[in-house]
Subunit: 352 residues, 4 copies
């Protein structure tokens, strides 16, 4: 099969770097363009020494200046929020398929986007054609989408944990709490503020943007509301910074309406995700982020406390793979009609 | 003032090591005996090179064999669960005051102890005279207790976070969840199983003993029930292992019965803990475990999500200080009539 | 091409786990048997949750009991030192090719082996037919070897750093020092002693077995002596434990006999390793262990201090890949006539 | 005794924060002024939540504007290099004693300073009156100095390791190598570049400024040359970044001129440092940085390789205490005639 041509815009960040790593080995892809203003003119290894020996002929290029991103079949946009709404329309009109890793095309409700991100959404029509790129919930719509809004890392872990319970109306929708723990790479590579300075993060755990103020809260709420047909649905979401580089562990809580035991819920989750190549239902041991390091899989485990009818669900992902670049490639595979797992199995998880 | 004579039994573990560190500089204490079967006959620095230059004449001694622990004024028992119920009665009868860092004298309900710890409680009468050693809640009782059951690390962080709300009956008692994150020193020093092997823990987060199965769950429930006069009180407690050495961050959730705002709760907590030398109400920044590293303080912050009336409370301690050895010395100070902060202020917190 | 059948003995350790991870995706291999006494009868994921979704039909098996390792084409022995000299002869006589990851077949001088490892070498004849499995120095001999002694992790990093200088007789052979820093996975998975307990390792650096007492010292000396035709060659080797999971950084020092500048040495190293798929000469940035995380590559950089004629060489590897399982697969590829890089490129390095 | 009044300039960095922590508990000191332009007007806890409960009445102040630093008895300057040469002369003329934690007053050879720091030294006369603040080598001179140049962190660990051997002329002065490993707090708090971003540092080790290009190289050379009366003395110094917050481990190498055994050297070091309150000669276990965490002590161990007559010396310090703030207070104690250990013993080391 002829390979498609692909560009990555925002290629020197952590999401971009993982895209380069995965795409370098993808059997159906020729990586043509890696756009980075910071590293323009430099070899890929100037930013990513880990890619030494891969992509030997690729150099970072600036955006514009005759670099014709628009001629690529698929473009990954891995820039900060607010950039894709500017660049995407031109590329879409030129016929590119787009996977956007920012928040710009994740919320169908443009007013909500503008409230949360405090910026006008300048591409509302394309936004209506965009699909939320969580294949486990929206696979068929993704296949024919011109543009996919690739989910946030926290939201991927949270939604996959909660969707089976909410879809089957097994829990009190007012009872839901997600307590999430993230490695620091989730803050991005450009954002090296004091908050992420090694001595401040190391040997410490902290919560931030608590009580519903983190931007992923409305994304989780909107996506679960759409998929599970809920209205007026709110949950409590708490993000924490953990002294590690990669990984998200989401501990979700919900009060059962019925009297299901732990085994009943395991059966439900196994059935719900039985066709999914990238969801693992894990019973013993329970999920740990290390189990997903470098992998595109989400591991999910759970237990019910019979005393109070509350279920605790543990979900783990690699925030840069299933939570960003790996899921983006999974979406590309769907859009292009490739095997859904193409290029994503070799990532494996590492031990230890 | 003449110094009292003190012994530490179980002196080569992490709790024991911190006791030695703190007691070495305590103005009212002469540390006479450090019992360790593992290191018997060796200098303190064989186990704790960090104490080089301190306690120059002290050597670890075995239990018994003419080492007369019973002649000390105060004995700290820092052994695994199930040992203090054997050693304490003899010492108490000899007139020693005891601070026990294990779980043996934390639960007044001996039947509950036997269910949770799966061992008969062989000192039930002394257990009825014991006091739960959380000075912020039980200061007066501690002062005259012959033996104090020093609280667990998770329980200290959890109870201090929840007591003001429950005491004032501001929250739905069925809504409470504590999601706690602990450094690995909480597992103790002797317990070097594969679970705590560096490569398994590092760069990973995991939950364990979820859905009410951790032994600190009944300890939190029983203590809050007693202090706040609750009945049939259960909560959901989830412990997590974090890739760091020290520190516990507890993120607690409760549904408010009223419409208090964040500022109202800050006022309540400031009032509740206004006389406490070791509780800090922290608004900006929110508590992080690093703020308490090496210190005997508990930092507490909070926020309300107006959308769903749920409060999120963040509490942080150093699990080996306020969660173990520091609190034990605070209890000794109360029992002996010393300044409550004696020997505990120099610990300070470190930056970074 | 028909796939060869392969067994891994000692499959539940860190080296074994990485072998399973790499072999699961190897295009020329069918992984038939994974021997582990600890996990016998359990699925691969009981020990390696990271391999969920891979090797779905493989279960750990005990050694013996009808598990016919000897019918495999290639057997990887990944056990503690002293085991391979017992198991290898039988397998070799049955016609298996063997890659041994222990120290048993690394030293051609059996007397030296017995001195260093304090055990009789019970397979001295096979030892004479064994080849030291460092492809960059001994590629041709490996291709026809019945058994390969896969190099130690420290030795791989050290030898690749020093071979060009010593082979070209550019440095004083009495001046050589290797100061090596290793992640804790190098200690293995079974060895969860207090020394490797998370709280003891984390936030600390220490040296151990200093002044020539580490067992990799004679391995480095013997290999460089053979390859560079040196006699009476000794160096100083210092291993250090670093609070990280994977990676070795070796900082090597040598006094130049001539007046080469940094650029001259870079040219020499580029020439020396120009055909090597797994050696990267890195100038800016200098090598860091993170650049090799999950990869089979060794990165090498250097600089000369003109003031005293001393060269400092920095080499980095992933101790579990190029320092163990990856190099073992590279050796298998050579022995079996596969593409040398088969199954090893997808490992990539991760960013970050 | 009346307390002296003290100011800290540059009080919101890591060195400044540790000064505040130590001085808050110092029996002879009243901390009057904490200058920070970044945090001017804010309470100490805005920058250092770890100091909650300490220094309750202190607020950061800007420099100048009526804040009369010059009226203090002792001023600690903890700013970036190049600032103290501007501020110190005025304070010295006003009669303040100064401990400068920057490099500005460490080198008596002003031309060397200007070469290394690429800036003119604008206070050369005061520089001639300054003393290098390493009490173990220059105690008597420090006592009467108007200004002390507090040593660098790398240099403290290196010089204390090498001084006994060089002073006694036991080693080849051309053979010396120091391979040093530092936690990231050594880079300072303001310097939160990509190089120190958590995901770049964590799980990685790297060398930087190799082959004599780090600025601490001439500082070590000049100090040892002065103290040991050496001429044309150069050594090789290699700094490394380690994924931890605090601590320096220096591994030093030298070739013995004689045939001393390990035990001979231990005897020499014990004799050399026998009166020193802050030097620990450690034989078993060897020094690790964790042994010094939070402490003002330097731990030193060693071994000789009889095969090649080379000695390996291991020295460990906490870079922010003995390598910065603790040593600065030790110097203040000498200058002011206080007990040399005043305020420095409670720091202790922590276990773990």
């Amino acid at each position: 099969m002829a390979k498609i041509e692909v560009a990555v815009v925002g290629a020197s960040g952590y999401g971009g770097g993982e895209l380069l790593r995965i795409l370098a080995m993808h059997p159906n892809v020729q990586l043509k363009i890696a756009v980075s203003s910071t590293y323009a003119g430099k070899p890929i290894t100037a930013s990513f020494p880990n890619l030494s020996g891969h992509l030997p002929n690729l150099t970072f290029t600036p955006y514009g200046d005759g670099v014709d991103v628009a001629q690529c079949d698929v473009v990954f946009l891995a820039q900060e929020n607010g950039k894709a709404i500017q660049t995407a329309p031109h590329l879409l009109e030129a016929g590119c398929k787009i996977v956007d890793l920012s928040a710009d095309f994740r919320l169908r409700d443009t007013a909500l986007y503008e409230t949360v991100y405090k910026t006008p959404h300048t591409a509302p029509e394309w936004n209506q054609k965009a699909v939320y790129g969580l294949p486990e919930l929206f696979r068929e719509q993704i296949k024919s989408a011109p543009i996919v809004g690739n989910p946030g890392c926290y939201t991927t872990a949270s939604i996959l944990a909660l969707a089976p319970l909410l879809k089957h109306q097994l829990v009190d929708t007012k009872s839901i709490i997600v307590d999430a723990k993230s490695g620091v790479s989730g803050a991005g590579r450009a954002k090296f503020a004091l908050d992420y300075h090694f001595p401040e993060i190391n040997e410490s755990v902290s919560a931030y943007k608590i009580a519903g103020t983190h931007r992923h809260t409305p994304e989780i709420e909107a996506t679960l509301s759409e998929y599970c047909e809920l209205s007026d649905f709110t949950l409590t979401f708490t993000p924490h910074l953990i002294p590690m580089t990669r990984g998200i562990l989401a501990t979700s809580y919900a009060t059962l309406l019925g009297t299901q035991a732990t085994a009943d819920l395991y059966e439900l989750y196994r059935e719900f995700y039985k066709e999914e190549p990238f969801v693992v239902i894990a019973e013993d041991p329970l999920p740990a982020t290390k189990h997903t390091l470098g992998s595109n899989r989400c591991h999910i485990g759970m237990a019910v406390d019979k005393r109070n009818g509350r279920v605790t669900i543990i979900s783990a992902i690699d925030n840069l793979v299933k939570g960003a670049a790996g899921q983006a490639v999974q979406n590309m595979n769907l859009i292009c009609g490739f095997e859904e797992t193409a290029g994503l199995l070799y990532a494996g998880g590492m031990a230890p």
